[in-house]
Amino acid sequence: MDKIFLILRREYVSRVKKKSFLLATFLTPLLFGALYALAIYLSVTDSEEEFNIKVLDQSGYVGNHIEDKGVARFEVINEPLDTAKAKVKQGEGFALLVIPPLELYQPKGIVLYTNHTPGLELEGDVDDAVELALEEAKMDKLGLNQSTLDSIKTRVKIASKSLSGESATSGSSAIAGAVGTLSGMLIYMFILIYGAQVMRAVMQEKTSKIVEILVSSVKPFQLMMGKIIGVALVGLTQFMLWIILTGAILSFAPSLLGADPATLAEAGTQVSMAGNGGNAQAMQAIDKVNEMIGQINLPLIIGSFIYFFLTGYLFYAALFAMVGSAVDSESDTQQFMLPIMLPVIASVMMLGPVIKDPSGDLAFWLSMIPFSSPIIMMIRIPFDVPMWQLALSMLLMVAGFVTTTWMAGRVYRIGILMHGAKVNYKVLFKWLMSKD
């Protein structure tokens, strides 16, 4: 056991000290931070250009209702069309909005004359402003006012509750789907990136011919496990550092930009209100999101995530180690890599169908088979999986990685000492079955 520790420590230390590891570990959160900072910067600083738009209202509906909207600043004028056009052409104002005499319920023929093509944002703002003005005109005509309208508006909260499980946690499919997808994708990335690293490490030890010295001191199985665990710890370290550093950067970045949290929150609200919504609607949306997050069984998700993250990695890393021990060069790995990668990639491709029907047959079976269960089960968990299914999947996962590790150990002990042998599936099988 202490030999496994020596091996995994060497593996860990030598990887963590690598420049590439340090770069990836520290630059990735910086990148996140920079993106976030950019987003904040763009929403906080009011550097947006405003566009002066002359409104020539020939209908009589829009002129007295139109209000500034987003980047559009309106100025109602009363001039002949040709004069107005000429003025804009000479640079007086950015654009000319012409509302022809129109039928209130079928508004047609509205034109925006400009010197330069307007941006999408401006076009949207003008659209919205005209629509709002027309709606108000209609309200006037019907004798309605804002307070009447507000009293009609009704807010209902409907909580969806699952019938299975005593906890009866209510789920919201959107958030559940997002959480499931995120955890599934993280496991997928971890398996592929670090599994391949295990394979490369095993292969390098074999080709650099250090392995025979090592196996005269430790059992091949110890060597393999030390490697697999060492690489796993490197991966976990990187993930933890990413989380911590990104968290730190995200909490410090705003103050670095000179914005205090209050204005930020305000900015956030403004952003969420940017649509065609009123204050009430925005509040409702925020409530809903908070509520949904509260509904998710966070301890269960985090616990299962760590479980499937590790067992899934162990399951595949053993297979990767097996391939690494059998071949002499990277190019020989191709034929063995495909069958290993295929189930991993297929699991990710099944993401959509599984989210659509999280308790269907497909989802059930894929979350039981150890080849796909780490990814698929994580997608299902936020949608409330019956406890017996989760337990069975976890048990099968243990059986799965014990099996692959056993197989890998058997191939490994022979493979690492074989140089120049032409390896195919038949040979692998022979090694697997050969006696000690």
Binding site: E212, S216, L417
Partner: protein
């Protein structure tokens, strides 16, 4: 002399060939034991079994009277023929890693590494990366890694390959010194001159069978064929029926060398007397077979007999 290692009726087969067939041998303590044999004879398989890298199909191995077990890893130092180092690791860390895998404590290991560096006249390489060393330097580091934990039994597979003659000599002296200090060395090689020079026992394996073993002196005696080399001036003439001329070749200065084999009970003195009567003898000595000759002859006999 006590035996440190006894190999008893070891057999091992792979899927499609027999690597060792009922091989037995005993390796005396404090000896330098040459394990010889053509390529593919089974030497590496035997060495791997002793190192518990693979296990035998049948037979036993005992070290100091105990059946081979995992604790023996500490007792053995193994330098395989196929050997390498982690290129990116520092020399000091690397040696420390090897020593710790053998069960040595960190402090003890560091002291010994420094002592070996001094002994082998190695400058301060502790913080140098392995990839920055020349091949010969790397070989020295590997040798230190093999003996760092003071093993009782040191197994060296082609230890001199890759060494220049100067460094090979340094290693040779170290091997002799290790033996003086009580270690036993098993030495597998194709270089017969180093076997001749270093080994006091040899065993010869061919085609999975052990065909020869024992003290080098005894084996050499066994292969003596009562043949003498005679250097003489002028024709030797016909010898009588007790003797047989094997061959004659001319040397420089008109001298001739004739190899004469004694066919029956007579001894070298009588031969010499007989020769003196026939020709002018300049030199006379027994032809002692070299290990190389023995190797070739034994393998030939094993293959054809």
């Amino acid at each position: 002399m006590q035996d440190i290692l006894r190999i008893n009726e070891i057999s091992k087969s792979y899927a499609n060939h027999q690597a060792l067939s009922r091989v037995s041998m005993a390796i005396p303590k404090q000896s330098i034991f040459g394990l010889l044999g053509p390529n593919g004879a089974g030497k590496t398989t035997l060495i791997r079994i002793i190192n518990q890298i693979i296990s035998s199909d049948a037979g036993t191995v005992t070290i100091n009277g105990e059946l081979l077990n995992p604790a023996h890893v500490r007792v053995i130092g193994y330098l395989p023929e196929e050997r390498g180092l982690y290129k990116k690791m520092k020399v000091g860390e690397h040696l420390l890693y090897f020593a710790q895998l053998k069960g040595l404590g960190r402090k003890e290991a560091v002291t010994r590494i420094k002592a070996w560096f001094k002994k082998l006249d190695i400058p301060d390489w502790l913080d140098k990366k392995v990839e920055d060393l020349s091949k010969g330097m790397q070989q020295k580091v590997q040798f230190i890694g093999t003996v760092l934990h003071n093993p009782d039994l040191i197994i060296l597979d082609e230890p001199f390959s890759g060494f220049d003659p100067i460094n090979a000599n340094i290693i040779k002296d170290e091997i002799l010194e290790l033996r003086e200090k009580g270690s036993t060395i098993i030495f597998s090689t194709h270089r017969m001159e180093s076997v001749e020079e270093l080994c006091d026992h040899i065993a010869l394996i061919d085609n999975s069978h052990k065909i020869l073993d024992g003290p080098k002196k005894d084996i050499k005696n066994r292969f003596r064929s009562q043949t003498f080399s005679v250097i003489h001036e002028g024709d030797m003439g016909a010898l009588d029926s007790h003797y047989q001329v094997v061959n004659t070749q001319s040397l420089e200065d008109g001298l001739l060398e004739t190899k004469v084999q004694i066919k029956d009970e007579t001894d070298s003195n009588r031969l010499l007397k007989h020769l003196i009567a026939q020709t002018k003898v300049v030199g006379f000595n027994e032809v002692i077979p070299s290990i190389n000759d023995i190797f070739i002859q034994a393998v030939k006999e094993a293959t054809h007999g």
